[in-house]
């Protein structure tokens, strides 16, 4: 079943009368259970694509379906709902709330899905345990290492049990060893059946996935299975 379906998707920006074609006709289908890497040179449109997939934005033109929701013309509220229920998003810069502790950070998505207090706490704590941070539940993000922060971010992304997990350079801010540990978590999540899509510059990251999509000038230039191509 297709969780991501893009047909001739375009995203244009207009800057001072100039048209910037960040995405210029992308066709893409990602099925349930896939492990995908999106790569490409800087400025090729990876982040723009990721924002569309992550339901943070809508396309200028084209058809976009995420987890069965047609979001080509989605309203802001529809996007919020899909972001909250169907998608987990892990950022390069973690994006944790510095005033909240680990458990509270993981709870945030549950607040917006209306889960009542006690249940919210239980669920968040169980996810914090799953990413191995039970010792740091009451710590603030500023008291954690980068790798630990990213684990909190992963816990937060998973707390609403999303069907698809996106990562925009999730290892980009980490040293290579920590990056490997985080990447390993994604691999494990995929093995547990989760659909995982990562944007990455790093060939080593792309190599562990099962499908690499190369973007250039706003289009899909090439696709391959790194396990075979090698």
């Amino acid at each position: 079943m297709a969780l991501v379906l893009l047909q001739d998707v375009k995203k244009y920006y207009f800057l001072g009368g100039q048209e910037i074609r960040a995405l210029d006709g992308v066709n893409l289908r990602i099925d349930e259970g896939e492990f995908v890497a999106i790569t490409g040179p800087s400025g090729s449109g990876k982040s723009t694509l990721m924002h569309l997939l992550g339901c943070l934005d809508t396309p200028t033109a084209g058809r976009m379906e995420i987890c069965g929701h047609d979001l080509s013309q989605a309203t802001s509220d529809q996007l919020s709902l899909v972001r909250n229920r169907e998608i987990g998003f892990v950022f390069q810069s973690f994006n944790l709330l510095s005033r909240l502790n680990v458990v509270e950070n993981v709870e945030v998505p549950l607040i917006y899905s209306g889960v009542p207090g006690r249940k919210r706490r239980e669920k968040a704590e169980s996810l914090v345990r799953r990413v191995g941070l039970e010792q740091r539940m009451r710590n603030r993000p500023t008291q954690l290492s980068g790798g630990q922060c990213q684990r909190v971010a992963i816990a937060r992304a998973l707390v609403n049990d999303p069907r698809i997990l996106f990562g925009d350079e999730p290892t980009g801010n980490l040293d290579s060893h920590t990056g490997e540990l985080i990447l390993h978590m994604f691999t494990e999540l995929h093995q547990a059946g989760r659909t995982v899509v990562l944007v990455t510059h790093d060939p080593d990251v792309a190599a562990v996935t099962h499908r690499v999509i190369e973007i250039r000038d706003g289009r899909v230039q090439r696709e391959y299975d790194p396990r075979v191509a090698a």
Binding site: N84, L97, R99
Partner: protein, 443 residues
């Protein structure tokens, strides 16, 4: 997102910037404080005036007064006998909506207990006068019908008179004593209670020392100066007929008690709802006794209310102005703080949006926060308002004790909440309109 979480988030935000939040509350604090004080003062004036009016006879009491007749009717002036006892009889008969009526003959006389002497205004009245003037008997009884019929030499005296003439007796114990009115002996059959304003009673209960009393006298702030109850406390009342035969007939040899001009004619309306009809009845009755000459009018208590309104209006205007300006400043302060706080939290808002917050969740969060600030300011303001009222009563004790009603507290807090909502709207709209991607990128 539920309100409780917004509240928690908002409070967390407020407490993480305690000083800043407090500063932004100041306008509200002052605004609510002056609202409370203003309402306490006007409320005090209103309550004091009402209570006072009740005690001097209430709205139901009406004086029938003489009126200048217009020039072109001057020729008929002689036709009318003016106000006489006949008027009282006529009203009693022909105005069923009037529950009480009493004529009144006044005379300034030396009054003495044998020892002490003072000069007072003595009034001859009917038994109805007790109800009309809302007098209260502390001991003994009032003048009865028999006293009037027989022209008895009995007197009912005010508390101050009793206390002054018999300094060694409790006022209530003066019943049965002999009082000399212009050397004629009268028996005291009743004494009225002591009538006091709130603040006089308070001063007495607090036991103001003689020294303090003198100090106030010298400063001219002695509470009894211009005491509106003075007249009632210094009343000496005797039967109407006694008054006429003892003290007036000599001055009016040609008149009987029926035709002698009376100094006062007071009535009490049975029911305020039929106030105008009752006055109509009285007018009709008096048109006959005055032979159609329009030389009488009615002095109602409405002008008291006008005076009260006037006193309240000035307080209300100045207090309301201060409160209004403060609340406006408070609103601007909160808006300003919220805008600053949002600029600081653009990234937070982006993150919340990214994990599923809708625009309206962000809107609500900001509004809840600004309302929380305003409400805290409101609560502090209520405390400050209590303080202002205390201070005012200490510095400038007025006629009426200000009092803070639950309603005024509720209203002020309500105002604070409204200010909170209004001042939060603009920042909240700004925050909820932030584009999630831009917000996430914001440094």
């Amino acid at each position: 997102m539920n309100l409780f979480i917004s509240l928690e988030t908002g409070l967390r935000e407020i407490f993480s910037h305690k000083f800043r939040s407090f500063l932004s509350m100041l306008g509200i604090v002052l605004g609510v404080g002056s609202l409370i004080a203003t309402m306490a003062i006007t409320g005090g004036i209103e309550r004091g005036t009402r209570a006072f009016m009740e005690q001097i006879g209430g709205l139901e009491m009406v004086n029938v007064v003489n009126k200048e007749i217009s020039n072109d009717l001057q020729d008929f002036w002689n036709l009318s006998p003016g106000r006489t006892l006949q008027d009282a009889y006529a009203i009693k008969q022909a105005a069923p909506l009037v529950s009480h009526v009493s004529p009144q003959l006044d005379l300034g006389l030396p009054v003495s207990s044998g020892g002490q002497t003072m000069r007072v205004r003595v009034s001859g009245v009917w038994p109805d006068f007790l109800e009309i003037a809302r007098h209260q008997i502390a001991a003994g009884r009032f003048i009865g019908d028999l006293d009037v019929d027989r022209g008895q030499r009995c007197a009912v005296i005010g508390n101050t008179i009793a206390a002054t003439l018999w300094p060694n007796l409790a006022p209530a114990d003066t019943v049965g004593q002999t009082i000399y009115l212009n050397d004629s002996p009268f028996t005291v059959v009743g004494v009225f209670t002591l009538y006091e304003r709130d603040r006089d009673r308070l001063a007495r209960e607090r036991g103001l020392s003689k020294v303090e009393e003198d100090r106030r006298e010298r400063r001219g702030t002695r509470p009894n100066r211009g005491d509106p109850f003075r007249g009632k406390n210094e009343a000496v009342l005797i039967p109407f007929t006694t008054m006429f035969y003892e003290f007036k007939s000599a001055a009016f040899p040609d008149n009987s008690s029926d035709t002698v001009p009376i100094e006062n004619l007071t009535i009490r309306i049975g029911n305020l709802k039929s106030f105008e009809q009752a006055l109509g009845e009285v007018r009709k009755a008096l048109e006959i006794t005055h032979r159609g000459v329009d030389d009488f009018g009615f002095d109602t208590r409405e002008d008291w209310f006008d005076q009260m309104e006037q006193r309240m209006r000035s307080t209300r205007t100045s207090g309301g102005l201060i409160a209004g300006i403060s609340l406006l400043v408070g609103a601007i302060g909160i808006t300003n703080i919220m805008l600053a706080s949002i600029t600081e939290r653009v990234r937070e808002i982006g993150i919340r949006r990214a994990v599923g917050a809708r625009a309206r969740d962000i809107f609500l969060q900001i509004i809840v926060e600004s309302v929380s600030i305003a409400l805290m300011g409101g609560v502090i303001g209520v405390v400050v308002g209590f303080g202002i009222v205390q201070l005012l009563t200490l510095l400038a004790p007025g006629d009426s004790e200000p009092f803070i009603s639950a309603a005024s507290i509720g209203l002020s807090i309500g105002f604070a909440a409204v200010v909170g909502v209004l001042s939060g709207i603009y920042p909240a709209v700004q925050a909820s309109r932030l584009d999630p991607i831009q917000a996430l990128r914001y440094e």
